[in-house]
């Protein structure tokens, strides 16, 4: 009974409708009235307005609805992962590039141990080289902007390489207090990788910059030269570390054949050129055979071939 009454009342909704001619007439009259009263200036709602409305809506119970919360969480998650993904592929001069660098710094802060940090820095430096390749390959870009981007990326590359060098020095100091052969071997392997990779990168940067036109080269040449030099210095530092490690092993096992070349032991001058590093590479090859324990005789066949990439 109650329902039927309600249904009947609801039925009135369709029955009672204003006359359509009155609707339009009244609309026109009202609009005329308000227009004559107010000299309207077109004002957009604006971002602030939308924000106010959103804040008001959020302040209401909408906030407590689980579905809304889920959507919000999903939105934030999806949005941030998309941004991070986009940042990952960004190049200098793009909006998301600073985010990429910040993310790298965060990654760095999360990693413990000097060896791991060095590896990560090397990885970042490799990324910079890849970015440099991409920037140089870009066409239809304002030359001024391109130059700026190259400068930015080369500077970042240099920073990375210098940081690697600093870490290597730290490791070198710390290593003097370490007695176990195992630890030394880890350091040695790391130093070998660093040495080969920094050399590779220095060459790659040199080669890439060759591809620039003379006008473009003019501004960045000095900077690139400095960066390449830093990379080479780092490479040499790494080789030095290898040599020192060798020496230590030799002292521990005096019975083994002394295959270390004297050149590897002497500290390398920072302004040495690539030809010097080739000599260092030879020393390195010899030293690798030197540090291997008898159990690793088989591996000895592989190590020198890895080292050949240094050259």
């Amino acid at each position: 009974m109650k329902d039927s009454i309600i249904q009947e009342i609801k039925g009135l909704k369709k029955e009672i409708q204003p006359r359509s001619e009155w609707l339009t007439l009244s609309r026109d009259i009202l609009l005329q009235q308000i227009n004559s009263k107010n000299q309207y200036q077109s004002v957009g709602v604006g971002l602030k307005g939308y924000f106010t409305v959103l804040a008001q809506t959020l302040s209401q119970r909408l906030v407590f609805e689980p579905a809304f919360i889920m959507l919000l969480v999903l939105g934030v998650f999806l949005g941030s992962s998309l941004t991070i993904n986009a940042a990952f592929y960004s190049l200098p001069g793009e909006t998301l590039y600073p985010l990429k660098l910040t993310l790298e710094k965060t990654h760095m802060a999360l990693v413990t141990g000097d060896e791991n940090k060095v590896e990560l820095k090397i990885e970042f430096a490799q990324k910079r080289v890849a970015e440099l390749d991409k920037i140089i390959a870009q066409v239809n870009v304002d030359p001024q902007q391109k130059k700026k981007n190259i400068e930015a990326v080369v500077k970042e590359f240099k920073n990375n390489v210098v940081a690697v060098n600093d870490h290597l020095n730290k490791i070198k100091e710390a290593d003097q207090n370490i007695a176990t052969t195992e630890d030394k071997e880890t350091t040695l392997r790391m130093a070998l990788t660093v040495s080969s990779k920094t050399e590779e990168m220095a060459k790659s940067v040199d080669k890439t910059v060759e591809g620039l036109s003379d006008a473009e080269k003019l501004g960045v040449e000095q900077m690139v030269a400095e960066a390449v030099q830093s990379a080479q210095e780092t490479s040499l530092s790494a080789q030095q570390l290898v040599a020192e490690a060798n020496q230590a092993t030799e002292e521990q096992e005096p019975n083994q054949d002394n295959g270390v070349i004297d050149g590897a032991e002497t500290p390398v001058e920072p302004d040495q050129t690539k030809t010097d590093s080739t000599e260092e590479g030879d020393a390195l090859e010899a030293s690798i055979i030197q540090i291997l324990t008898p159990e690793e005789q088989d591996a000895a066949e592989i190590e020198p071939s890895t080292n050949s990439s240094v050259k």
């Binding site: 006359r19 609309r27 307005g49």
Partner: protein, 187 residues
């Protein structure tokens, strides 16, 4: 026509900035429900039309001039409609009082006059509408707001300035009265 709260708030914001376009949109959205609400409170369609137009004009003036924060546009419109209907009855009562003796003999007050008019058109009315018109104004408006305009209990509480609890009680009584009147009419 269902309007989202967000849409309503945006319209309100634009209305505050004196945007006639927003006013036109608000008019299109709410003119029919407001007209219907007033229709059940007055005797003639003519009065309902006049009062509906006035509601929108009042809303424009209020929103563009006030500094107060407006929470709910829909509730504000119904409130304005309610107040205008009350004013309308007050004014007509005063008018009747000042009118000459002769007409006063014929028509005691506007309500009565309306009632006479109502009798003329009563044949066209559905039974349920007659019942609604026989009800106390307090009951009638709550039934209209709940079942015809489909407002929530809290929206009705906002319009009538009552607590949600008293709205529920009032609604329950109103339906009871409605049923009684319907039974009486059918007999």
């Amino acid at each position: 026509m269902p309007t989202s709260k967000l849409q309503e708030k945006l319209l309100l914001l634009r209305l505050k900035k004196k945007d006639p376009e927003a006013f036109a949109q608000i008019y299109d959205l709410y003119v029919t429900p407001i007209y219907r609400f007033i229709y059940f409170k007055v005797a003639t369609r003519q009065d309902a039309e006049d009062l509906t137009s006035e509601v929108f004009l009042k809303i424009w003036q209020y929103v563009t001039e006030t500094d107060e924060k407006i929470e709910n546009l829909k509730a504000l419109l119904y409130k304005a409609a309610r107040n205008l209907v009350i004013d309308f009855y007050r004014q007509s009562a005063r008018k009747d009082f000042t009118q000459d003796q002769e007409s006063l003999l014929n028509v005691e007050d506007y309500r009565q006059q309306s009632l006479l008019f109502q009798i003329d058109t009563e044949f066209e009315m559905k039974n349920i509408e007659k019942v609604l018109r026989q009800m106390k104004d307090e009951y009638r408006e709550i039934v209209i707001l709940r079942f015809i305009e489909e407002l929530s209990i809290s929206e009705i509480a906002n319009v009538l300035d009552k607590s949600k609890g008293s709205v529920r009680v009032l609604l329950h009584r109103a339906i009871k009265v409605c049923r009684e009147l319907l039974n009486k009419n059918e007999r």
